[in-house]
């Protein structure tokens, strides 16, 4: 949509399409507010996005390019009396230390079958031509043992306003993602080899949906509640996480957490089974005994329950998912949350969205669009027009120089300069790793397990790592591979934090005696800002401007949803937050829907074709409300059945 086509007045303008922003957008649009939702990027969901393999390569490249600080244009000509401008200067440091490695052969090898499986993976072959920059990282990491502040410097070095600038330039151009695909085209399509080559990964790149953040949905968490309440769930499909695993004494073990698991567990003695079940049932209720431990570590409480090492490990690391020094009340409350979520949709407390987490913000964007919200990607807000007397934002100036009035402005954290942010806590980071592997970390009868793996600190001072292993039926990786996400609070760089865990659990060139472990074909490390400490207001900004923080380190989505609801209630305290959307059959379609303005880029964020680089972004999409209806019904029925069962 050309900029001059945009209406010049909105109730709410939202910059950034991350989860919180998208929920806010849907909530406003749903209650009849006029919403303009823009993102400077070419894709939805900001740091919550999911990428195909090829677009991830593009993303990696973008984060290696030198940022060219944007020329701040002077828009003061748009000002009226008593107004001033606040320029938004993107904070570039949200992603840093990006390092990618390829441990599989670059091309399919004709004679591969004859050779032993080992040689190809030890050739630390650098990735294809398009990724020269990534390659250079490898040499650095070889000496990365010296964890000097040097690594910390990197974010600045590579400060990437690059994508910002690119976003405005590349509108209408072919996305970069095409480059790696070109190299894939060289390799002939061949029957699947024992080991999947890099070329195959690129060729099958569209089968991947690789999330930047790794989270799960607690089945009684606020996101699931919101999806159900708002009927947004009809736009998405979910899979159960099928098992909870943990790493212990050098082995990956299944954590028995449901009744059926405990019954079937082979590692627990019957007495342990009883103790575990009794603990799990008893800790649901708060007792005097528990209160006595308030302020003391949860570990101490568990020790005093005389559960034994096995159960203590499971309860602390895999069920409560806390550390050894977490206070008892906190440990118990997360244990309870875990237990409340069990059994609603399956034998674990978690759901994962098919096609990746990037779907979720898009679903909310879609809901927003259905109720009239307008979407523009590769479109940003350059500055705010502030009324000096009231200190309220009256309007925004978009990247095209159009002045757009609005009553409220909601902005992603990454678009607010550090100088305007009030940060109470020291900056924190998340360490992330993404692996594409050739086998499950704990093979079982089914090769389509979705596993949540907890890895306690492997040595003193190391972070506890949360790992999610996705199978191909989640539509996030190609058949024959698994997509593994690792996340932890940063101690050092992502590579420093996570590669020791990867080396222990998987077969990589650095690992030893890992014959039975799955091999890593390709992997990516990066750090992301953990902005969970950021408040929605109280910054050096007009009073009607609200800031949404980016992804946080916790496993669930509570933070973003709570934040979205908070912003909504601050602006419209009287309105219902995301009331149920009407059924498709109750919507009246009158023949002449004002056709001219609804066209163009009003794009509900329908997922799959978004980033495939075919220039389809411009294509108009119809909102098809009916689709996925069945899914929703199924889910409801399922829920009913579950609840019936639990009553019995």
């Amino acid at each position: 949509m050309a900029a001059e086509d945009l209406p010049s007045e909105f109730d709410v303008v939202i910059l950034g399409t991350g989860l919180a922003e998208s929920v806010v957008a849907a909530a406003f649009s749903r209650v009849g507010q006029r919403v303009l939702h823009v993102d400077r990027r070419s894709y939805y969901a900001a740091n919550w996005a999911s990428f195909t393999f090829n677009s991830l390569l593009t993303w990696i490249q973008e984060h290696h390019e030198e940022s060219q600080p944007e020329e701040a244009q002077d828009w003061s000509s748009l000002l009226e009396d008593g107004e001033e401008l606040i320029y938004l200067s993107p904070d570039p440091a949200s992603i840093s230390n990006v390092q990618a490695f390829c441990f599989t052969s670059e091309e399919d090898e004709e004679e591969e079958k004859a050779s032993s499986p080992d040689p190809p993976n030890t050739t630390e072959e650098k990735t294809g031509g398009a990724n020269e920059d990534i390659v250079k990282e490898t040499s650095e990491t070889e000496s990365a043992d010296s964890k000097e502040e040097e690594t910390k410097e990197k974010p600045e070095e590579r400060a990437d306003g690059a994508e910002e600038e690119q976003a405005s330039k590349t509108e209408g151009e072919e996305p970069e993602a095409d480059q790696p695909t070109a190299s894939a085209a060289q390799s002939q399509s061949e029957p699947a080899k024992k080991k999947i080559s890099y070329a195959q990964l690129v060729k099958e790149g569209r089968r991947f949906n690789i999330d930047l953040v790794s989270k799960l949905l607690y089945s009684r968490g606020s996101l699931v509640d919101l999806l159900i309440k708002s009927n947004v769930s009809r736009y998405a499909e979910f899979k159960n996480v099928t098992r909870i695993l943990t790493y212990r004494h050098g082995n990956v073990e299944q954590v028995p957490c449901s009744r059926a698991d405990v019954f079937a567990s082979r590692q627990l003695s019957v007495v342990e089974k009883r103790k575990l079940m009794r603990f799990l049932t008893s800790c649901v209720e708060e007792t005097e005994e528990q209160r006595a431990y308030n302020g003391r570590p949860y570990l101490e409480f568990l020790c005093d329950q005389q559960l034994g090492d096995n159960l203590q490990h499971f309860l602390l690391h895999s069920i409560a998912m806390v550390t050894e020094d977490t206070p008892t009340e906190e440990g118990l409350s997360s244990t309870r949350h875990f237990l409340r979520c069990l059994g609603r949709y399956g034998n674990t407390p978690f759901l994962f969205p098919v096609y990746g987490l990037g779907e979720i913000p898009q679903c909310f964007c879609r809901m927003c669009a259905v109720f009239g919200g307008i979407y523009c990607l590769r479109h940003s807000v350059s500055c705010l027009v502030v009324d000096k007397t009231t200190n309220r934002c009256k309007a925004v100036v978009d990247s095209q120089g159009q002045r757009i009035s609005c009553s409220h402005f909601v902005v992603e954290e990454g678009s607010v300069g550090t100088d305007r942010k009030t940060v109470t806590t020291p900056p924190r980071f998340l360490s992330r790793a993404v692996l594409i592997t050739d086998g499950s970390i704990l093979p079982s009868d089914s090769d389509q397990q979705v596993s949540m793996v907890t890895v306690p600190p492997i040595a003193a001072g190391c972070p506890a790592v949360k790992m999610v292993e996705l199978c191909s039926s989640t539509m996030t990786c190609m058949p024959g591979t698994y997509l593994v996400h690792l996340t932890c609070q940063s101690v050092g760089s992502a590579y420093e934090d996570l590669s020791p865990v990867v080396t222990k659990l998987f077969r990589t060139p650095e690992s030893h005696d890992q014959e039975n472990c799955p091999s890593v074909l390709w992997c990516l490390y990066f750090n992301m800002t953990d902005s969970s400490g950021l408040e929605v207001e109280g910054h050096n900004l007009p009073s009607n401007v609200f800031v949404c923080s980016g992804p946080d380190g916790s496993l669930g989505h509570e933070h973003a949803i709570k934040q979205a609801e908070l912003i909504f209630q601050k602006i419209l305290p009287e309105e219902d937050f995301c009331p149920p959307a009407p059924n498709p059959e109750d919507i009246i379609y009158d023949g002449d829907n004002n056709s001219s303005s609804a066209g163009g880029e009003e794009n509900g964020g329908a997922g799959e074709e978004e980033n495939d680089g075919a220039g389809e972004e411009e294509e108009e999409k119809k909102e098809v409300l009916e689709e996925n209806d069945g899914e929703e019904e199924k889910k409801e029925v399922e829920e009913e059945e579950q609840s019936l069962q639990t009553e019995e």
Binding site: R259, V262, V271, M277, A369, A598
Partner: protein, 583 residues
Amino acid sequence: MHGRVKIKSTAQQEEEKRKEREKKLKIYVAARDACFSKRKEGIWDDEALQLTQQLLSSNPDFATLWNYRREILMHIETVKDEDEVQKVYEAELSFLESCLKVNPKSYGSWHHRGWVSARLPRPDWARELSLCDRCLSLDDRNFHCWDYRRMVVKMSGVPVDQELGFTDRLIGSNFSNYSSWHYRSTLLPLLHPESPEPPSPCREPPHSSPPPSPQTHSHRVCEEQLLKEYELVQNAFFTDPNDQSAWFYYRWLLGRAEREEMISCVYVSRDEERVAVAFSRPVNAKSVGLLLVLDGQPQRVEWRSVHPCFKHSPVWICDLPPGTISDITNEHNLTVHWTEKHTHRDCALYTGRTESWCRDSATDQELFRSELSVEKTSVLQSELQSCNQLQELEPLNKWCLLTIILLMRALDPLGYEKETLAHFQTLKEVDSMRSAYYSDLCSKFMIENTILKMEYAEVRVFSISDKKLTTLCHLDQLLLVTHINLSSNQLQRLPPQFAMLQCLEVLEADNNSIENLEGVYHLPKLEEVLLKNNKISTLAALQPLASCPKLKRLDLRGNPVTQTANVEAELAELLPSVTDLLL
């Protein structure tokens, strides 16, 4: 504003829904009437098939319509060739599937499915089986589906081991499921039958009773498999000790073989010229082919149970023709044949003896090792250990306590008596709703223990005072007892079974709450009845005593009946033989 969604108002929606419902009802009623009139006229055409289908798909519980449909289908069978019939029935099956989606517990739909499957010329059992599995995965307690599945399995001959695997799966996903456990109990004996040889010396005191006949062991499972099952079921009850399905299965696993059917005792009394026979289970002696042979001569005798209220009884008596054995200088040989079971028991009445008997004692038969197990003691011992372990963790779990009691009884009823009583006390407290049941059960075990003690002592005195007895049982085992002491218990009656104590001379039952003496009936040797401090309130309650010819001494002190006017005279009339009456 563009793109706003317009939504129908709720009133509009309601109105639309109401109209739709009305329309539906009209169609339904019309179709129903059409069906009924067609059936009346005996029309079996495609239209009728369609009409019933239309109705049943919205209401699959309309039995009359299913019947009509079956009539039509049977008619079609007669006019079409096999291929066409196959097609019609296949269509029927897929229609039924949609009905089951409407109501997965519809009697009509499942029954009709069974009917169709049985008539299908070329049935596809694999598909039926997978349908059942799908239904059970949605609701593993759908008994309609279990029933239908059993039929499918039978018809299609699914291998037993595969079925066992199926129960493994269901139990794995939710072990709180009687159907699956029960199914297991029917499959295991088929798959892992107990070896035909008698089990190796399985009880410590080796005994001389004949090896158990094969049929008594048909429900048993070989030991190796049993151990695996113990482990499985323990996993279940340790995981959730309050789930009774696992406990019930465990009781089945521990269960002992059925007792061999036999004549356990023959008693002959010279004075009364009477024979009493005790059986291992209640029988109707008049119809089981009981034959009495005296000194080689079959006798025509009239068998009667000890009390007219029993048609089946473990004890039967008969009077010998007068004079046959009354001469004390004669020796007699007596044989009772149970022709139906090809078994018999001999008894010799020697010169100079007034009575004689031949029996297997309760200790010989190990009758009271509760209902549990012929297993090796070591197995039971380790089961007891794990239950004790669980009890330590769950001291108030009633299932666990009860199972411990049963295991203790199986192992050593006398040795564990103290613990057993303590556990019963806890049981009554934690499960007060069933305290009367526990009291009765405890009484039963106390009686068993007393019988054992009596037999070890080789006496005919049965004394069980001050044990909080609430009920009497195993009275058939007391056939030979001459002196019984039931004082200071909580008995309310002496039930008809009490009449089995054919040798009883002295009955002591002071300090109970007895108000009914029904069972003190035709006891030929009874001389003394002590009923101090009971609750006998009417003379009518004493009526049964009149049937005991030798009753001389009666103590009724502390009973309400003593307050009745003119009681002494009334009693003298009622019980003329009593010479020593205490009121």
